[in-house]
Symmetry: D4
Subunit: 246 residues, 8 copies
Amino acid sequence: MPRNYSNVLKGVKSGRISVGGALKILKDLPYKDLGFAKIDFHRGLRRGFPEVVFGKGKKPAQIIKIAKKIAGHDGTLLITRTDRKVYRRIKKLYPKARFDEKSGAIYYAKKKIQKKEGLVLIVTAGTADQAVAEEARITLELMGNPVEALYDVGVAGIHRILYKKKTLEKAKIIIVIAGMEGALASVVSGLVSKPVIAVPTSVGYGASFGGIAPLLTMMNSCSPGIAVVNIDNGFGAAYFASMINT
Amino acid sequence: MPRNYSNVLKGVKSGRISVGGALKILKDLPYKDLGFAKIDFHRGLRRGFPEVVFGKGKKPAQIIKIAKKIAGHDGTLLITRTDRKVYRRIKKLYPKARFDEKSGAIYYAKKKIQKKEGLVLIVTAGTADQAVAEEARITLELMGNPVEALYDVGVAGIHRILYKKKTLEKAKIIIVIAGMEGALASVVSGLVSKPVIAVPTSVGYGASFGGIAPLLTMMNSCSPGIAVVNIDNGFGAAYFASMINT
Amino acid sequence: MPRNYSNVLKGVKSGRISVGGALKILKDLPYKDLGFAKIDFHRGLRRGFPEVVFGKGKKPAQIIKIAKKIAGHDGTLLITRTDRKVYRRIKKLYPKARFDEKSGAIYYAKKKIQKKEGLVLIVTAGTADQAVAEEARITLELMGNPVEALYDVGVAGIHRILYKKKTLEKAKIIIVIAGMEGALASVVSGLVSKPVIAVPTSVGYGASFGGIAPLLTMMNSCSPGIAVVNIDNGFGAAYFASMINT
Amino acid sequence: MPRNYSNVLKGVKSGRISVGGALKILKDLPYKDLGFAKIDFHRGLRRGFPEVVFGKGKKPAQIIKIAKKIAGHDGTLLITRTDRKVYRRIKKLYPKARFDEKSGAIYYAKKKIQKKEGLVLIVTAGTADQAVAEEARITLELMGNPVEALYDVGVAGIHRILYKKKTLEKAKIIIVIAGMEGALASVVSGLVSKPVIAVPTSVGYGASFGGIAPLLTMMNSCSPGIAVVNIDNGFGAAYFASMINT
Amino acid sequence: MPRNYSNVLKGVKSGRISVGGALKILKDLPYKDLGFAKIDFHRGLRRGFPEVVFGKGKKPAQIIKIAKKIAGHDGTLLITRTDRKVYRRIKKLYPKARFDEKSGAIYYAKKKIQKKEGLVLIVTAGTADQAVAEEARITLELMGNPVEALYDVGVAGIHRILYKKKTLEKAKIIIVIAGMEGALASVVSGLVSKPVIAVPTSVGYGASFGGIAPLLTMMNSCSPGIAVVNIDNGFGAAYFASMINT
Amino acid sequence: MPRNYSNVLKGVKSGRISVGGALKILKDLPYKDLGFAKIDFHRGLRRGFPEVVFGKGKKPAQIIKIAKKIAGHDGTLLITRTDRKVYRRIKKLYPKARFDEKSGAIYYAKKKIQKKEGLVLIVTAGTADQAVAEEARITLELMGNPVEALYDVGVAGIHRILYKKKTLEKAKIIIVIAGMEGALASVVSGLVSKPVIAVPTSVGYGASFGGIAPLLTMMNSCSPGIAVVNIDNGFGAAYFASMINT
Amino acid sequence: MPRNYSNVLKGVKSGRISVGGALKILKDLPYKDLGFAKIDFHRGLRRGFPEVVFGKGKKPAQIIKIAKKIAGHDGTLLITRTDRKVYRRIKKLYPKARFDEKSGAIYYAKKKIQKKEGLVLIVTAGTADQAVAEEARITLELMGNPVEALYDVGVAGIHRILYKKKTLEKAKIIIVIAGMEGALASVVSGLVSKPVIAVPTSVGYGASFGGIAPLLTMMNSCSPGIAVVNIDNGFGAAYFASMINT
Amino acid sequence: MPRNYSNVLKGVKSGRISVGGALKILKDLPYKDLGFAKIDFHRGLRRGFPEVVFGKGKKPAQIIKIAKKIAGHDGTLLITRTDRKVYRRIKKLYPKARFDEKSGAIYYAKKKIQKKEGLVLIVTAGTADQAVAEEARITLELMGNPVEALYDVGVAGIHRILYKKKTLEKAKIIIVIAGMEGALASVVSGLVSKPVIAVPTSVGYGASFGGIAPLLTMMNSCSPGIAVVNIDNGFGAAYFASMINT
């Protein structure tokens, strides 16, 4: 069933395939097989955003290979959880590519990104949650979402978030990022009527068990209107936020 | 700071307070204090939907008292996780109230509910997940969302969900409800580009540990675009879905 | 080394032992041995409050036997986690004894209890936390503490607790009782500068795991000034509060 | 609502605002926003002790920036879980600052600290618990509490703690710090009638699971009068002790 | 290789097999096969005590069948975790059989049991641990061990165990049975130089997690000389004690 | 894409579709939609055995409806984890249907089952594991596998399994079913060179945690040649065994 | 009973023992005792494949010693989880030995391996699962199994596996290797009627808990026909696959 | 109550205190207070073996200080979990001291150790368990126990342990040390009628969870006569064995 990608394009060029028909075919087109990886070109069409490279556990050479295919195909590139060494090699290929030290994200967009309307607000409990926040911010911006951020407004000094109620009200969607006990998600959701995407972080020690404590807190929130993603998954929260930011 | 509710209304009536001014006051108005419970009238204004009564752990008399206040104030009532006994007493007060045996939900709307546009699709893995699905369906409908459902399309016979791709494409938001290993959420999210709200259920045995297995599955999904709510929390998933169904 | 209790009293009566000397002896005096139980009379002297009977797992006959020894010796009696059946039998022996249905506590004080000065405030997140709260309230009152309570002020409608800041400020010690995600302890501790004794409860479902979720939340609170007792341990929180209410 | 900090001070200087009035304003004044951190000046007023800097997970430059703001504002500084490198930079700014190698705490007080009356006793089970004990001791002293310590009196040689009963009796509040099985908290609470703040530590191996074993031991203690803080949280125990040391 | 049991006995009778030879054969002889169960007759010879019937999860008819084979073969019978209904049927077959309500144990010895010399002391923390203690006591006595017991001497009133040091010194082996936090095992082992067999019990609530808390406590004891058996396993502790009581 | 089932059959009848062609279509044919359930007819063709009904969590009426469709379609029926009540109703419909009390399985085969060649041996550690064993035995027989069983040969009397080495050697595949510590799987795999499918059971108490202990034992076996299925999943083990019994 | 190995061989040489007789003896012959290790020569005969050396936790010198004995005896060698350093030393002894960097496996076969017929297919979810896949591939090939592999076909882009249905159909046995949420095993088993051996991997982060998440997913799969091995145990899956590949 | 140690000795010397009297005093004498540590001299008298130094988490200087006091006082020294660096310093002080690389134990006995009669047998499952075994062996020998060892006889090649039944029979007490699934303890206890002290080890990977798997296996053993110590606790097993080796 899987057809050859270039053949489709040739068919369109020659008029043998209509644009509408080609689009239909493309929707079912598979992936680029690199042997060790199968790049899901499909995703760019299906989801409006290309496959994102999760850098952790991949060798630099593998990342570069995958990155070239994606950037060449889609003109947009996001590599998460990687390092400066990989960045140097990417930079040579795509001088416009940028790197965020805190989160380890490399990102690049060939063309100007079209902006959506709804504001996504990132709220963090503490300074140490910032790496996760940056991963979210970069993902959101690359996907065209206007972003604002409120850093270090955890519950210990609850007046800090209370004074920012107006900023909360302005947002269409709020991403709350918190480690330790993770109560901030409940508090934000209790203050304003916005969908809250909660990201537990591994920030903490002792009985926070690498993020289990805030994960359970967010999962059991007594305030409706909260949905949760994996521990430290700034990217996932941003991706979900962008999907519902229509 | 908290002011008396009826005084505000009197002020509006007498012209002493403008409608705009009253609305502002009402936004900050607190709750009805029943001693054992403080009803959050606020919520109806803040969130466009009144406080929902979580029936489990409350005595029938307490539920009735709270329900009367809410239904009287907002004209809409949702009690989850309760039973037929409570329903009989509610029915006498509000003959239009209905009861769903599977989920234990009582629901009532005085006036016709205004419909939203986006379709919310409920997908369940197995027959035994239906109680959770009904809780979600009732909540969604009460909040004005068009709802469709695909029951018993778990991964064991994966062609069942593959054949329903068109139904999946029709939806704006998809709620996936699954116990056992909970793989259905990943599969649905891998098939179509829609935000998936995943609800792990306690359906299963042995190493499903009352829902921990599907919870972890959904949390760790390799497919972006999934956010998770608590085990068996059909209400929470529906509430979140309704919030993002703008 | 253990000496006979009545001999000491006889010694005091006959003048053979001074009051000061007797007090010293009594401080080291052991317990009443009932075979299946060893009642710690010591405790009344050492701690100013007699041994409390934990009813769960004890047979009614055993409870009655122990209760008679304690009430006869100290004039004060507290049995927790028991039922109305035991109460009927206690009531015949001590008509002034009272019973709290919600928490299953039987309590009795022969003489008027001397009041302390500092106010202990009990704050609960939801209506279902009330059983634990009543166990705490009864213990506190029996130990002479002025008590006030704020029920059902959980974070879902956070304005409810914000409007009660004055009540919070009035207290010397605050006991926060919360199930589900247990964020209320952090919020209260973030609002006012009072020692907070946090009691996680088993109220909740799914990933609250019988109280593990709020336990971890309270343990990891980012706000200093919180110490935690066991799940549902209203008695323990009250006992600790009374000890520091000097 | 949040007003500008310097304006208030100018108002006091010019006589436009009375001292009492300014104090009221200051009580509601928010925080210093450094972008990556929001320093809670509020806390010094609200709690009588400034915000404490948790060093772990913050970059040296961030710590220095925050430390300067706090020390400059309050004249008191406590940084926990940091290292000698940060200390060298702090020392240049505040030559009176001191460093404790074991716990990694930097502390500094511009003026002589006013002493409270009640003695807080720190009791540790083993030599390896000392890092946590030092964090507690430094915090207590900085907050004006008289402190004594009994190190290495674990239950394995129980006569060591039995011989120290007099020291235990002298204390107003006891902090018990123990890893491995953590039984010492129960033993101390069973020996004397003092509030015990229990700190489980990650000292141990195998089935101590990084402190879960002593945490559960302390949580389930059969002796009333114990409240628990997070694993290794010497600071939290000391802070709570100081709050109840009135 | 497995030979027929009656053939061996016939061989001995006929003189074809010497007693010594028969004994050797018997040591290797297998079991009685009842289809649903294979009774390990072997064990009586190998271990000096016949197979013990664990009643839980077996049907009454099955228990009776197995019990008859064992009692008939060895003249000694122990059924643990069963009930009065089974007892009534056993009693008809073996009128000397006795039943312990608390632990659910049925026990019977045809002949007088030969006494060992070393004293085994059973120590329990609370009244509710008695069921486990009785299972241990019955097992010990049936296996010929002199037994004494100290009930309800938990750490909450630690002077109770301190005053009993002489009793502890008298014992050759000590079985410590404790739920809640289980600290008693460490305390007893810290007081006297005796091997301590520790039995965690499921007595407790909240964070005792059905016996995990005392299990971890006992496992991690800082006092050497403690070995642990399964939660509520009074039988196992007694069996082990009897094996080392040589 | 999904075509109508009866149309295919009509097509075959009329000669419009060849048998080979129809078979191909049928392989892709979906399921019978009962609303609350979608019966996977597909499975009978795809796997040579129809969908099995997991009775737990389904209402009797639902089970009957599903069972009728399956038995009518495939002539073979297996319902697991159900009860005698459901059986009575099934029996009226299919008088040849049989019921196993221990496992709660109802099974029925219209025609004589064709036998495979390889012997599958079921080995259980204790009498209480029999329910799981019967579920496995019924499944195996219904799928045409010759079955033998060795019950109650756990490691406590290890000579019982050692004497049965010949029986073990005879088998092609061995299913080992064990609760408590589950060591039997490792022992059997260490004795003979056969694939072992290990089923942990919830038989046990205390630290067996409902089957987690034997699950981990089997998972970590130092003997290669073991694969594990879910706790108590006799059906799953048998199904897998039948698949590899070619 | 254990006889000397060389004596047997001498006996065969001299004709004193027949080949058939020697084979029988060899089947019961024990192991080579190196003091720190007892090499199970037995296994080569019993299982048709020699003992495999698990390199982790063994010193290089120990590995070399063991390896020499095995390779010398059986002519086949597999060392898993070791490194290049050990390889260099092995290579000098057996120049034909090869090394796989990703999995850390050293492997060597003196003679050409005889091929089996059934195809074993290895399917991985992501690029990072490759190390485990290579361990499986090497083991399978060394044991004579034809192997094919499908890498990086995880559920996130589910069309990748759907397009490969024909490859799946071709296989006799499928090994599915997946980290994160591990849903791929259910999907593959839902697509085709083949026995699936599932290997959870430690690939992932946050709530994947080092492989617990995919382990539970695979254990609870709603699709029958799946059996599971330990986390990252590529070798164990391959060994089991080879055993059933008859 | 605690008296000065040297005064007692002076009293004996001067004849003021009889030897019997001094012994009594010494039995109650406390410990040497080094500030950071309180050495339990008591233990040598109470238990017949001095305090053992747990090296992990102590600084070299602290270990040396403690070691000098113990070795000087008792003439016997055991330091566990330390390294060669500490050994070099100890060696200068006590040239007869020895070091075991595998376990990290330093041991020294001034005088010849008096031998007990009963043999203690150490049995390990794999080569990697040897470090724990050496810790046990050294402790046993230092405490005067005859020791033998069977290394690497795990269940994977179960004939290895079966052939060693005679060695097992010879022992009075058996210490079984096993990681991975830990089944060896059950097997040994099922083979011979000896008390088994089981030591789970952290050897393994994946679902062995650092020793939880063998810990649970041993705890739940279906064979009576097993008691368990902490993960990797070779010292504790040996100490307990020595206590019961009377």
